[in-house]
């Protein structure tokens, strides 16, 4: 039965989650050097283009149609049967209770999750990866890694069927992107200046604005993951306000203890970490425990952000810390503090159900391994077909000029207009591209 109220909210939620990817682009663009602003932003925009198409063609079906414990089938490939009635996969009709929104809306909502997860991984390889290689990577990753883990966590695969709780994507979005980012950073390698020169965020205002847009969009991400306007969605919505606020306060404290100053870029990071922490737990824990989670999740993530630059691993924008580690924390937190009184489904260890913690540990033990290994192999494979990264000379000039032929902050000084009817050969003669 379609519920119009539920459907209306899910339409809005879908748009909110899509805005997150643009917000992420702004967040990432502010964190890199000015010569790489557009390329960094464009990786997120490209994720929208590539992942939407792969999702419609095959990704959605592999994640959400009836299949095996590992991966879904091809029933919904090419959007076959994705229409106005609710999804008819028996897993959703029987086990979870039938949905009250059109299948098309569910499809679009889930597509935006795939998009942002692909965009998140780009944070590990910005400022040196070739744009063409990234497009191919995005297409293959969205199917081979995201769709599979979405099946495990949401679509009837072995984790969700076995009782692991993941409200809005601690498995498929957060742990998947975080540990894939680590693998991608290892295969693509460090930027040529990494560890040799100070590389600073070029616009901290973009970083804060991007984080703010992400938080705004996250109300659709978590608030829509009850697939309606039910209690779970309402609880997750409120928790999406509470948790990041607490993470911010804890991050302030940690920043202050280390440097005697509270940093803006740190605050932006804290917003993301808080939102990620509450993502898996949103509809399952009480508001007061969500606040505890907010304070708690800051600690391991802050530690990894502080430690990572001491290594040779140039996981450039700390996707592992902000998403991988925060996702792990949120997934495990459910095992302790899930409360049937609030979620109507299951209690955690603290409320007398130690089995739930075991289910959660199962996800933490397997999902990072799958994401890391698959991403590592996939990038090695693409590396055989084409170079993964720009030459060190191109890296020096910046990706914006090399791959896009544009500058983020063009002044126009010294620009000579070329008449529109000039043949392209003539334009390019005596120039470098």
């Amino acid at each position: 039965m379609i519920d119009t109220g539920d459907t209306a909210w899910m339409l809005v939620s879908t748009a909110l989650v899509l805005l997150m990817t643009v917000g992420l682009g702004l967040f990432y663009a502010g964190l890199v050097r000015s010569k790489n602003t557009l390329n960094t932003f464009m990786m997120c925009i490209a994720a929208i283009a590539v992942a939407t198409v792969t999702w419609a063609l095959v990704g959605y079906s592999l994640a959400f149609s009836e299949g095996s414990w590992f991966i879904g089938g091809l029933d919904y490939a090419l959007m076959n049967g994705v229409m106005f009635d609710p999804i008819d996969n028996p897993f959703f009709v029987d086990a979870d209770g039938a949905q009250t929104i059109p299948h098309l809306v569910f499809f679009a909502f889930q597509a935006t999750f795939c998009i942002i997860t692909v965009a998140l991984v780009s944070g590990a390889v910005v400022e040196r990866m070739r744009f063409g290689a990234f497009l191919l990577f995005a297409a293959l990753w969205s199917v081979l890694v995201y769709a599979v883990l979405a099946h495990w966590g949401f679509g009837g695969g072995w984790l969700v069927a076995g009782g692991t709780l993941d409200f809005a994507g601690g498995i498929a979005v957060e742990m998947a992107s975080g540990f894939s980012a680590l693998a991608a950073a290892l295969v693509v390698g460090a930027r040529k200046d990494y560890g040799r020169q100070a590389i600073l965020p070029h616009n901290a205002v973009y970083v804060l604005l991007g984080a703010g847009l992400l938080w705004f969009g996250w109300f659709g991400f978590n608030g829509g993951s009850g697939f309606g306007t039910n209690n779970l969605s309402v609880l997750a919505f409120a928790n999406t306000l509470l948790t990041p606020a607490c993470t911010l306060l804890m991050w302030f404290l940690l920043d202050h203890l280390r440097g005697r100053r509270i940093t803006a870029v740190g605050a932006a990071t804290a917003i993301i970490v808080g939102c990620v922490g509450i993502t898996p737990a949103g509809g399952f824990i009480s508001p007061i425990w969500a606040m505890v989670l907010g304070f708690g999740v800051a600690i391991p993530c802050w530690a990894v952000v502080a430690f990572r630059p001491r290594t040779r691993v140039d996981e450039t924008l700390d996707v592992l810390a902000a998403h991988g580690i925060a996702g792990v924390t949120g997934i495990l937190f459910i095992g302790f503090f899930a409360q049937a009184e609030w979620n109507g489904l299951a209690d955690g260890l603290v409320f007398g159900n130690p089995g739930q913690l075991l289910d959660q540990v199962l996800a933490v033990a397997t999902v990072p391994v799958y994401a890391f290994v698959m991403t590592y192999l996939l990038l090695r494979l693409i590396g055989f077909l084409m170079p993964l990264r720009a030459s060190s000379q191109e890296e020096g000039q910046g990706m914006d000029l090399i791959y896009h032929g544009e500058e983020a902050y063009a002044t126009g000084e010294g620009a000579i207009l070329i008449r529109p009817d000039t043949p392209i050969e003539e334009v390019l003669a005596g120039t470098k591209r």
């Binding site: 200046d193 040799r196 020169q197 000379q393 020096g396 000039q397 910046g398 000029l401 032929g405 544009e406 500058e407 063009a410 000084e413 010294g414 620009a415 000579i416 207009l417 070329i418 529109p420 000039t422 334009v427 390019l428 005596g430 120039t431 470098k432 591209r433």
Partner: protein
Amino acid sequence: MKLVIGIVRPEQANDVLESLYNSEVNGFSVSRVQGHGGELDRVETYRGTTVKMGLSEKVRFEIAVSDAFVDPAIEALCEGGRTGEVGDGKIFVVPLERVVRIRTGETDDSAVTPVGA
């Protein structure tokens, strides 16, 4: 005393700084400039508008040195600034008539010698 002016690629500026420090040339000014030195133009397109960018971003080092430091300064600029491609920049060496350190009123060689050297 000479004023050594080095115009280099922005992406080489950090390498130049490193080689200057290694050569113990410690006093200089740095500014961002735009110029044209015969290198190939870049083509950029913004919607329907295609342009050739006739001016390239460069970084300009101005280094006032006593005679003994002229060659080390030039070597450091070359070492840090060279990529081998057109557009690596130029070095100009011009005579200096007078140098005054404002704080003490010291002049000439003692004014271009860094404090503590």
